[in-house]
């Protein structure tokens, strides 16, 4: 049935390609209908992991290659929330792409991306996993820059990184295949664990080949620059998919492989170096997550483009998730998975509201915007709720997962990791408020006076996302039960939860009571507000300017909006140790071009030159044989 779904998707994608430009909303309706179909099927299939399906392709020599799928609790959970968010973004993009120039191309490759998304999560063997992994790499290349010169350079970083990591993974798979003889994930994972005993060299090679993929795809420390490039330049609605979903693939694969491995080592630490009873390697990974989150937070504080800011905040959140995941406590892993879901939800909300603002104002520089809240209330509310849950403030959903991450880290005694996470989450509050202020509050520039709210169809996903954020924030037990089923599949101890009251070794929270406390105090504040005398509305420019009437020194509302170097002095603190990793990668690229250029000129040399080289190289081979 999954194969049918994927096949049907391919047919639909070609069908959508032939819809004429005039009715392009029809194309996008087919698109969102298909995602709805996948969503509907994932819900109806449910979590019975006995569902197995295969579709054999070819058997050369002793390879019998076939696409086979199985519903694992983890895969099912990831498919559910990714398809739900893709469905919401697709509703948003029906209207947005009405007069987008290359939208026929975006639609086609986005279709393939969705097919490979479901395929990747439900894949049962490494061969299918790799096929869909490479399909995602190729199709996201064309969606990020569908023939736009501006985003061409940006997409190169992403594309080269993902190709390198997918082929390193390929070599890792081959070594595992040599050992087990089949591609199925369960057998290979067990073999991978046993590999550390009998042939450590192989094991390390496979581990490295998988880890590179994880580092690249979830933008950890050395590779933390590509999201800022790719998300900032991608088409707006796709950047919400990019940072909500596509950045999670590396994480999914690592959970498959490394969590069972590290848990096994944790139980039987035969000859492994253990640092406060977790393997050293997972400790290093946890620290790489922490470092990434700190760096990404400080980069986000400095960025002035709103999409870059959101991209860096995604990198920071991926940092939290990695740290929590590799602290290997049950709360840590559950918190990491829950935070992946929450992060996907509120990040999609942030990016959709940014896309709405860009749809109306065609401007991404924050200091040129301002005062959008007065004109676009619904977008403002989504952005506000998304900011509150991104900063981890209680009534909404970001808080519950952050709280679980803290319980996980603190209960397994990681003082400095908790401090690093705390530093970056406070920093998160800084740049999130900067975005809220410079885009939505402050002064509305004159040129945006006639900005209207986005059409209703674009508001539907915003309402649903708001509802999701609030409901998961207040009643997290539904999502936690799903996560518990994932934990049992990796036989980690479950989180004991009694209808919205989560108990952890350190303390318990009841998010319903937290919400009640907040509403109660809000009612108290409202009563106090009514006691005071009624207030009077005033023009935006009627503010205290030390007695000088703004109109006198022709002060426009745009000049009056403070947003350009919001944390200027704060940024100067880090001037001494500011390294530009983007510069590093550009220098590598220049070096390669230089060498290539040298050989190219060498090729088109004179005729006499060719003969000399021919003879010389022939002699060289013989000398080389002599030395060998």
């Amino acid at each position: 049935m999954i194969i049918g779904l994927l096949f049907y998707g391919i047919i639909l994608s070609f069908l959508a390609l032939f819809v004429r430009k005039k009715y392009n909303f029809l194309r996008w309706i087919i698109f969102s209908f298909y995602i709805f179909l996948t969503l509907f099927l994932t819900i109806t299939i449910g979590k019975d992991s006995t569902y197995f399906e295969t579709f054999n392709l070819i058997s050369i020599l002793n390879f019998d290659l076939s696409l086979n799928f199985r519903i694992t609790p983890l895969g099912w959970l990831f498919t559910l929330f990714t398809t739900l968010l893709l469905f919401l973004t697709s509703i948003f993009s029906i209207v947005k792409n009405k007069n987008e120039d290359a939208e026929r191309l975006i639609n086609f490759f986005w279709f393939i991306l969705i097919i490979s998304n479901t395929g990747l999560f439900l894949a049962d063997d490494l061969f299918t996993l790799f096929i869909f992994w490479e399909l995602i790499g190729i199709s996201s290349y064309f969606v990020i820059s569908p023939g736009w010169v501006s985003s061409f350079r940006a997409v190169n970083y992403y594309f080269i990184f993902s190709i390198i990591c997918s082929f390193f993974m390929f070599s890792g798979i081959m070594i595992l295949y040599e050992g087990t003889g089949t591609f199925s994930i369960q057998k290979n994972v067990l073999y991978f664990i046993s590999l550390f005993e009998n042939s450590p060299l192989n094991a390390i090679f496979v581990a490295i080949s998988l880890i590179i993929g994880f580092f690249v795809k979830s933008a950890l420390f050395p590779f933390h620059i590509w999201p800022a490039q790719a998300h900032a330049k991608a088409p707006d609605d796709f950047s919400s998919v990019l940072s909500g979903i596509i950045i999670k693939y590396g994480l999914y694969r690592t959970i498959l492989f490394f969590i069972p491995l590290f848990l096994f080592i944790k139980e039987y630490p035969v000859n492994h170096i253990m640092v406060n009873n977790i393997p050293l390697f997972s400790h290093i990974l946890a620290w790489s997550g922490a470092i990434t989150s700190i760096i990404a937070t400080f980069l986000a504080i400095e960025s002035n483009d709103m999409k870059k800011l959101a991209a860096y905040s995604t990198v920071a959140n991926m940092g939290y998730i990695t740290t929590a995941l590799f602290s290997l406590s049950s709360f840590g892993i559950a918190g990491a998975i829950f935070h992946t879901i929450n992060h996907a939800i509120f990040k999609t909300a942030i990016f959709l509201s940014i896309a709405a603002v860009k749809y109306r104002t065609h401007e991404t520089q924050m200091h040129k915007l301002g005062g959008m809240a007065y004109k676009m209330p619904v977008t403002f509310l989504t952005f506000l709720l998304a900011i509150i849950s991104a900063a981890g403030i209680p009534p909404l959903n970001g808080y519950v997962s952050k709280w679980m991450i803290y319980q996980g880290l603190l209960s397994s005694k990681f003082p400095f990791l908790t401090l690093a996470i705390f530093l970056s989450s406070t920093g998160a509050f800084m740049y999130l408020f900067r975005a809220l202020h410079s885009i939505f509050l402050g002064q509305l520039p004159e040129k945006f006076d006639n900005v209207k709210e986005v059409p209703f169809l674009m508001q539907i996903p915003m309402y649903i996302l708001m509802f999701l954020m609030v409901s998961i924030g207040i009643f997290p037990q539904f999502v936690i039960n799903l996560i518990n089923s994932v934990l049992t599949s990796y036989n980690i101890s479950n989180i004991n939860i009694k209808n919205s009251m989560i108990f952890s070794p350190l303390s318990g929270i009841d998010s319903v009571k937290v919400f009640l406390a907040f509403t109660g105090s809000f009612i108290l504040a409202f009563i106090l507000y009514l006691i005071g005398k009624p207030r009077k509305h005033v023009q935006p420019l009627d503010t205290y300017t030390a007695g000088q009437d703004p109109a006198d020194f022709n002060l426009t509302r745009e000049l009056y909006h403070f947003a350009y170097k919001f944390y200027g002095p704060f940024e100067h603190m880090f001037d001494s140790f500011r390294t530009d990793t983007k510069e590093f990668y550009d220098s590598i690229e220049r070096k390669i071009n230089e060498i290539g250029g040298y050989f190219r000129d060498f090729q088109s040399g004179s005729i006499r030159g060719t003969i000399y080289t021919f003879m010389l190289s022939f002699v060289l081979i013989i000398i080389y044989w002599w030395l060998l």
Binding site: D542, Y544, G547, Q548, D549
Partner: protein, 186 residues
């Protein structure tokens, strides 16, 4: 029976009670216009300490109740004073120090100083002395507090009721009929 009509009660009934609190915490806008400003620091600090009466300097007109015009007022600063006065919130009061705001004082015949402040903004109390000493200023504050308590200091209501008259006076002084520099359109 009108005592129990809530609207009346709300207007007058509470006002007496609230006036008591307004009296006890008068916040002064720290806006020095003339030569009298130098008298204010001693009244604020430990020698005469006006904080005993719950009075303190406030940075913005939004937060302040009391506007002090300390000395002569030139046309340019009159424009700023009016703009600041309108930014302050009711109930608000104005105290004029020295003789210049009353009749122009020694600058009565200067081209740039206004002779009578009361024409432009309602003055609740003016304190005598070519820059009154801190004791006189505090004496003035206490007098103002008494007026507030028994509801006489209603300058802000006068300003609201015959705003047209005030506006006309202000325009007569501030609005420029003929362009000052030739060629500059009005």
């Amino acid at each position: 029976m009108e005592l129990y009509s809530t609207k009346k009660l709300k207007d007058e009934g509470f006002e007496q009670i609230l006036n008591f609190f307004r009296k006890k915490s008068l916040w002064m806008l720290h806006y020095c216009t003339g030569c009298g400003a130098v008298e204010l620091p001693p009244t604020m600090t430990s020698r005469w300490d006006m904080e005993r009466f719950g009075m303190g300097p406030m940075a913005t007109p939004r937060q302040a109740d009391l506007l002090l015009i300390t000395g002569y007022l030139s046309l340019k600063s009159l424009k700023r004073v009016i703009y600041t006065y309108e930014q302050m919130q009711n109930p608000k009061w104005v105290i004029a120090l020295g003789s210049c705001p009353i009749n122009g004082g020694i600058y009565y015949d200067s081209y740039s100083v206004i002779n009578r402040l009361a024409l432009y903004i309602p003055v609740d109390l003016s304190i005598e002395g070519c820059m009154p000493r801190p004791e006189a200023i505090i004496e003035g504050f206490i007098k103002l507090m008494k007026q507030i308590e028994n509801g006489e200091a209603v300058g802000y209501k006068k300003y609201q009721e015959n705003y047209k008259w005030y506006k006309q006076n202000q325009d007569s002084v501030l609005k420029r009929e003929f362009p000052v520099l030739s060629g500059e359109e009005k």
